[in-house]
Amino acid sequence: MNNVAAIKSTTFKRRDTLAGVLFSLPAIIGFLAFSAGPMVASLVLSFTNYSISRPSSFIGFANYAELFSGQDSFFWSSVRVTLAFAAMNVPACILTAFVIALLLNNKRLRGMTFLRAAFYIPSILPIIATAMIFMWIMSPDFGLLNAILRALHLPTSKWIYGNAVLPSLLLMTSWCSGNIMVVFLAGMQGIPNALYEAIEVDGGGTLRKFLHCTLPLMTPTIFFNTVMFLISSMQAFLQAYIMTQGGPNNKTNFIVYYLYRVAFEFQDIGKAASLGWVLFAMILLVTGLLFWSSKYWVVYSDDN
């Protein structure tokens, strides 16, 4: 009997593995065809001084040394602003999206379909359009925000055009967090009603339902969203490219934007490639830390 069971379970496992591989095959093929080669290429390039107009040669770790030694005037500041932006952007957007999802998950809410659509729409707008609108909203002289502040006799700000540029960008990114919100909403709707009913039977109120049921069961979704959003925040580019051109005073000179400048403004492709790999390593490290921390706070329903 035991033997049969063992054989059965191994064939199942094998079948599962096969199915898994088959399902992920498109992604694997895509990676091999489009990503693997260029990745290797960029790694190789990062050890050269390849520039658009000059012949190139291997220079070992010189590009990396130039970055880390501080010889490059912009590298460390761009690492700082990238990390600062990610550190602000992730909690701000995850929190906003989570709270909105909570509100929209209320079954007694009127006009729910409309509201869900309304909160989701910003994330399907082209970022260029969103950025242009926010540039107007945050205009120091003619913008909506300063007009409101003036009407309330509050001090105005230069928003994205002054020192407050990073926090100001959060206004826009939070506004666009509809796609995170949708994932949260889906997660919340996957929580079995029976659990809430059980709390009701035990006499628990809304707060208890949230603390003991919604929040723990949502941790895997929060974890997933945090990882995905952290990665995209560290790759911030468009805000800098469209709205601030890395300024003012390099305060939005994010690593990817700096990479773009090094490659196409300074024509230093080798160094740009090395910047790409430094960012890759940073993201790997930060994501690794998140995964490590997940065992302390992420609850999977089958772990009880």
């Binding site: 260029p38 005037s73 120091p140 020192n163 196409f264 403004e265 300074f266």
Partner: protein
């Protein structure tokens, strides 16, 4: 995320393939023309010989420019094609991010046959033997001599080697909204160099012309600098804004002994005074405020700025907008009057298979006989001398039309010949990287975070470390 990494990776792949192609093609070139420049200069003549066969040729040509400039250029291209039916010019208008696109094209071995190039990029390309020496091409041409052109407008990468001329003649000046002047009771700006305003006079006028939402000017005790409706003077924050004034103050960008000119007294005092316009006097918009203003030309039309300090190419947009505007000379600082051109050239790439046709097109554009419209419309000043010196020719473009107001000849045309300094981007090696340090430092000053002295001296050592010499 995957998509973004993929994009990044893809672009790297493109670059790598490009690298392969570039190295292949350059090796081909070197085997074919082992003697480099001299053989390259011989080829136009050879092609000229074959020209009688009139085989069909397609040239690719890239250029930048505003919304009025593109249709104008397309018209010029059509005119050229009509005259030379065997040549087709594929004009590609690149309105923004021109340097990045040009870099990508060159990296992808897709460089145009000829095109606008920022002078600092062209300088680098020329040094790598990627551009033709325009002198060689002019010397080969029987209909042209070097002396036909304005000497000021040639750009050099070495002794006797020019990577091209400016895209057109240009010169910085002041342009003002006449209605705003009349309302404020301010006299028209002087158009003659000898009458040029001092800095203090310009500041006084700018104060009278700076109005807040309640109509108070900057001299009024009730003036609210946080709610400005009309700025007195708008200027560019890049070299175009400060270099003519620095030159006029006896300063330079790089001193003879390799020091950073903007940190030296002559340069610094100009930078400081420009900073004061923004932070102390509130008569000029800061970089932050400029971001929410329309283009320089439009802000003059809409009276968000009463005076603008910019290159004369703005005449095209101003005359198209129909605003009633005047022209004046720049202020004069402590030394001689100075004006500067733009910072673009037309380069003919050595990778072209049709250098002769490319030169023919360049030559055609340069001659106002063909491109009179672009000159009359205010976009270009001629590159050829007689259009400055002989009244008959001068009057064909610089007077008697909507784009060239009274006083233009004194205020713009004459200084372009007599009081002319190239911008540093034309001759300072490594300019892109140096400017990447200078611009944020200026922003710190305009934001009021640092004084001019702190900003400029703070980057002095680093800038001097990036100096790799000049070609003058």
């Amino acid at each position: 995320m995957k998509q973004k990494t993929r994009l990044l990776a893809l672009s790297m792949a493109v670059v790598l393939t490009a690298a392969l192609f570039v190295s292949c093609s350059s090796s081909k070139e070197t085997t074919a023309n082992p003697s480099g420049a001299s053989s390259a200069s011989a080829s136009p003549a050879q092609v000229a010989g074959n020209n009688e066969a009139q085989e069909n040729v397609t040239l690719s040509f890239t250029y930048w420019g505003g919304s009025f400039e593109q249709p104008l250029m397309e018209k010029l291209i059509k005119g050229f094609e009509a005259q030379y039916p065997h040549i087709k010019v594929e004009g590609q208008h690149i309105p923004a991010d021109y340097e990045a696109k040009m870099s990508a094209m060159v990296a992808g071995n897709e460089a145009p046959d000829l095109g606008y190039i920022r002078d600092f990029m062209a300088l680098d390309f020329a040094k790598q033997d990627m551009l033709y020496n325009i002198f060689d091409m002019i010397d080969q041409d029987e209909t042209l001599e070097r002396d036909d052109f304005v000497e000021n407008y040639f750009l050099y990468w070495d002794e006797g080697k020019s990577y091209g001329m400016y895209t057109a003649g240009e010169a910085y000046a002041l342009f003002y909204n006449k209605e705003a002047f009349a309302e404020a009771g301010v006299d028209p700006l002087p158009t003659k160099i000898e009458d040029a305003l001092t800095w203090e006079q310009l500041l006084e006028i700018s104060k009278k012309l700076t109005l807040d939402q309640n109509g108070n000017n900057a001299n009024s005790p009730d003036f609210d600098p946080t709610l400005i409706k009309q700025y007195g003077l708008r200027f560019d924050f890049n070299q175009g804004g400060y270099m003519p004034l620095v030159h006029s103050n006896g300063g330079v960008y790089v001193t003879e002994d390799g020091k950073f000119g903007l940190a030296q007294p002559e340069g610094l005092s100009v930078i400081e005074r420009m900073g004061d316009l923004v932070t102390t006097h509130h008569v000029s918009p800061s970089p932050a405020e400029v971001k929410s203003l329309p283009s320089t030309a439009v802000s003059l039309t809409t009276r968000q700025a009463a005076i603008i300090m910019i290159g004369q190419w703005v005449l095209l947009d101003l005359s198209e907008s129909g605003v009633d505007f005047g022209v004046g000379v720049l202020p004069k600082m402590e030394d001689a009057y100075s004006t500067s051109p733009g910072w673009g050239t037309i380069g003919i790439f050595k990778s072209t298979e049709h250098p002769d046709e490319a030169f023919l097109f360049w030559k055609w554009l340069c001659d106002p006989e063909n491109s009179e419209e672009a000159h009359k419309a205010g976009l270009w000043m001629p590159l050829m001398s007689k259009w400055y010196t002989e009244d008959e020719y001068v009057n064909r473009w610089a007077a008697g039309n909507q784009a060239h107001p009274e006083g233009y000849i004194d205020a713009v045309l004459t200084p372009a010949i007599n009081n002319f300094h190239r911008h540093p981007s034309a001759y300072v090696k490594n300019f892109a990287k140096i400017d990447a340090l200078v611009q944020p430092a200026l922003e710190r000053m305009y934001l009021g975070e640092e004084t001019a002295e702190e900003a400029m001296q703070g980057i002095e050592a680093e800038v001097e470390g990036l100096f790799e010499g000049v070609y003058k």
